[in-house]
C-alpha cells in the first residue's frame, strides 16, 4: 500500500465518512484456478475498484494442486482468506472446521438468498445447518449432436435420442467406420472426469456413489461396454478427456458427444456443421433425470483475519451470478435471469439440465470412491470383467471405504 493511498484513506476516515468501518486497509488473499482475465481476476478487480479500503491479491493454483496446496497451507497457517474449492472436495474440508460457517452471515445478508440456489450446488456447500461456501457458478452435461449427420443418416434432427436404448440405436445408425466416424464420443478416462461422466447414469438408474451396483447402473455400464465393443465409440474413450473427446466431434469424427457448456466457444469456431444440444437420455421414457454437477465454490478459510470483508467479496460475486454464462462460460448456480444469453438453444438445454444436476458425494472419502468407480468402469470397458461383476466389486470396496 503506497503512502499516498494511506493518507487518502485516513483523510476519509477523519472526515467521518462511513469508511470508518474499515479504518485500516484490508488485504485479502484469494486462491483460484483461473488465469488472469478470467472470472476471479475480473471479480477481484471490480470489487477493488468499488472498495478503496480493500485490496484483493489473486493467486493462480493449478486445478489438480488445489486440495494439496490448501491442506499444506492450512497446516502451516499460511492459507488464503478466500479460495476456490471444487465441489466434491468441499466434504474434505467442511467437517474439519477449516472453512468459515457462512450461515450467520447469510441470515443477515440482503444479497444472498440460499433458497434461490439450485439444489445440486446447494448440497455441495450445506452440511447440516452450516453453510461453508457459495457456489460461484456451475456446469453440467448434455448431449451434443451433429444435425447434418442426423439428416444424412435419415434421422430427424428435431428428435434427438431421449432414452438409453435410442441413444444406442442412433449411435449405431450414425457410425460409419469407413469414414472414421463414431456414433458417440464421451470420456471414460481414469481421472475425476470419468466419474463425472458416469455418475449421472448411475443416478438416473436409481443408484448413487454409495449404491453403485443397482440394476440401473449395471444396465448403464453394459450399454457403455457395448458402445465400445461394437465400435460405436472409440476405444480411446478410455484415455481421452472430455475436451479431447469433444474435439473429435468438432472434427466430424463423431456424430454425438456428451460434454458440458465449456465446449461451446471452441465448437462455435471449429465445427463447420450444424450442431445442437439435447438433454442427457434417460433409462426409459418418463424415468427420473439426473446430470452431473461441475464447477466449484467460493469459500472463506476459518482462520481469516477479515471474515466480514471476505464475506462482502463473496456477496459481490454472488450478486454477479447473472453474468457468469455470457462472460465466464459457467452456468448460474442459482435462479437468476440471464439477459440475451450466448448460444441461446444450448443455454436453454443446459439451464434445464441444471435442475437435475447432482453433486458428487458429499463424502470426505470422495477421492477414493471416485477412483474405485473409474476402475470399475475401465475394467468393464476393457472386457476384463463383466459390467455387473465390476460394479459389485466396486460396491464391496466402497462399503469398506465408507465403513
Amino acid at each position: 500500500m503506497n503512502p499516498l493511498k494511506i493518507m487518502f484513506l485516513s483523510a476519509l476516515g477523519l472526515s467521518g465518512s462511513w469508511t470508518m468501518a474499515h479504518s485500516a486497509p484490508v488485504e485479502l488473499d484469494l486462491w483460484t484456478i483461473d488465469q488472469p482475465g478470467e472470472y476471479h481476476y475480473v471479480m477481484a478487480r471490480e470489487f477493488d475498484q468499488q472498495h478503496a479500503d480493500i485490496t484483493i491479491n489473486v493467486r493462480t493454483v493449478q486445478f489438480r494442486d488445489v486440495v494439496n496446496d490448501l491442506a499444506r497451507a492450512v497446516a502451516t497457517g499460511n492459507g488464503p482468506d478466500v479460495t476456490y474449492i471444487d465441489n466434491p472436495d468441499m466434504a474434505l474440508f467442511a467437517p474439519r472446521h477449516l472453512l468459515l460457517d457462512l450461515a450467520p452471515y447469510v441470515r443477515k445478508s440482503d444479497i444472498v438468498d440460499i433458497d434461490r440456489i439450485f439444489p445440486g450446488p446447494l448440497a455441495s456447500v450445506r452440511f447440516d445447518d452450516s453453510l461453508y461456501g457459495l457456489p460461484r457458478g456451475s456446469n453440467t452435461l448434455a448431449l451434443y449432436y451433429n444435425a447434418d449427420m442426423f439428416e444424412a443418416a435419415g434421422l430427424d434432427p428435431d428428435q434427438p435420442p431421449t432414452t438409453w436404448e435410442q441413444l444406442y440405436q442412433y449411435a449405431k445408425a450414425l457410425t460409419d467406420s469407413s469414414e472414421n466416424v463414431y456414433g458417440l464420443a464421451f470420456s471414460a478416462i481414469n481421472s475425476e472426469e470419468g466419474t463425472f461422466q458416469f455418475l449421472p447414469w448411475v443416478q438416473m438408474g436409481g443408484g448413487d456413489y454409495n449404491n453403485i451396483a443397482t440394476p440401473g447402473a449395471k444396465r448403464a455400464l453394459t450399454l457403455w461396454t457395448r458402445l465400445i465393443e461394437e465400435g460405436l465409440a472409440s476405444r480411446d474413450t478410455l484415455i481421452r478427456s472430455q475436451y479431447e473427446s469433444t474435439g473429435t466431434f468438432n472434427a466430424g469424427n463423431a456424430a454425438m458427444a456428451i460434454s458440458g457448456p465449456w465446449e461451446l466457444p471452441r465448437m462455435s469456431e471449429e465445427a463447420d456443421f450444424n450442431y445442437r444440444v439435447a438433454m442427457l437420455p434417460v433409462p426409459e421414457k418418463k424415468a427420473k433425470r439426473a446430470s452431473a454437477l461441475g464447477e466449484g465454490v467460493n469459500t472463506i478459510l476459518a482462520n481469516t483475519r477479515y471474515p466480514k470483508e471476505a464475506f462482502e467479496f463473496l456477496e459481490f460475486m454472488h450478486a454477479n451470478m447473472d453474468r457468469v454464462w455470457n462472460e465466464f462460460g459457467m452456468l448460474p448456480a442459482s435462479r437468476v435471469e440471464v439477459k440475451d444469453p450466448n448460444f441461446p438453444q444450448a443455454y436453454a438445454v443446459f439451464d434445464e439440465s441444471m435442475k437435475y444436476a447432482r453433486t458428487r458425494g458429499p463424502t470426505p472419502e470422495w477421492q477414493k470412491i471416485s477412483q474405485t468407480i473409474q476402475q470399475a468402469v475401465q475394467s468393464a470397458l476393457t472386457g476384463q470383467v463383466e459390467p455387473a461383476v465390476a460394479l459389485e466389486n466396486a460396491q464391496l470396496k466402497i462399503d469398506r471405504i465408507l465403513d
Partner: protein, 304 residues
Amino acid sequence: MPRFKTGLMNGLIDGKGFDTTLVLLSLGYLLVFSAFPLIFNLIMSFQQVDLFSLAQLVRPFVGWDNYRDVLTRPESWPIFLNTVKFVGISLLAQVSVGFALALFFQQSFPGATFLRGLFLAGWIMPALVVGAVWSWVLAGDYGVLNYGLQSLGLVRDKIFWLSDPAWTLYAVIIANVWLGIPFNMILLSVGLAGIPDDLYEAAKMDGATCLQRFTTITLPMMRAQLGAVISLGTIFTLQQFDLFAALTQGGPANASNVFQYWSWQLSFENYEIGQGSVISMLMILFVILVAVVYVRSTRHEQAS
C-alpha cells in the same frame, strides 16, 4: 581477532580444515536432503497419514497395517508384475540397441560423430514432451504409427496402443526405450573408445574373426561400462514417471500401472499417504540392492 582470522584461513588453506569443511558440507547435505526425507518416508509408512497431518511428525502409529493393506490389494500383484516387465524389457532393449549403435558409430565413416551427436537430441528432451509426442504417434484413431502399419499392410485393424490393456504397457516401454537409447549409446561409446586398437590388430593378425574379437576382447573389456549402464538404467527406469503421466496414467484399469506411478496416485490422488509411502519404501529397498551390486562390481574392477 586478526590472529583468529589467520588461524582460520591457515586451517582452510593448509588442507586439514579445508577437508573437514568439505566433508561436513557434504555430510550436512546428505543428512538434510537424503537421509531426512528417507527417514520421514519410513516413519510415514508406519503411520496413519492424511493430507492434514502431513506437516506433523506425531501421528497415529499403525504398525504393519499400511504394508498389509497395500500388499493384499488385488491390484498390487499385477502392478508389481508390470513394474518387473517394464524395467526388464526396457533395460534389455535399451542396452542391446544402445550397444549396437555404439559399435556402429565406432566404425569410422563420414559423419559418424555428427550423427552420434544427433542421437542425443532425444535424450535432452524433457520426458513430458517426449510423452506428448509419443501420445500422438501412438493414438489409436489418428496416430501416425497405426497409419504406417496399416498402409504397409502389416495390420488390418487399428491397434489401440494407449487404451487396449493388451498393448498399453508396451506402448510406454517403446517410448521409454526410445528415450533411453542415447544415454546407453554414449556411455558405451566412451567405453569402446577406451579399448586400445592394438588389441584388435593383434587379434586380427592371429586370425580372429569379427565375432571372436567381439566376444573375447570387446565384451570382457566393456564389463565395467555394461555394469554401470545396467545399474543406472535400472534406477532411471524405476524413476520413469513422466511418460506414464503423459501417455496412459497407468490405465486403462491399471493395465499399464507400475509401482512408481501407483505410489504417486496413492499419495497425491487418493490421499492415502501412508500407503503411498509403503510403495516408495519397497522401491527404495530394491534400488539400494541395485546400488550395492553396482558399487561392488565397480570395486571389483578397480581392484583388478
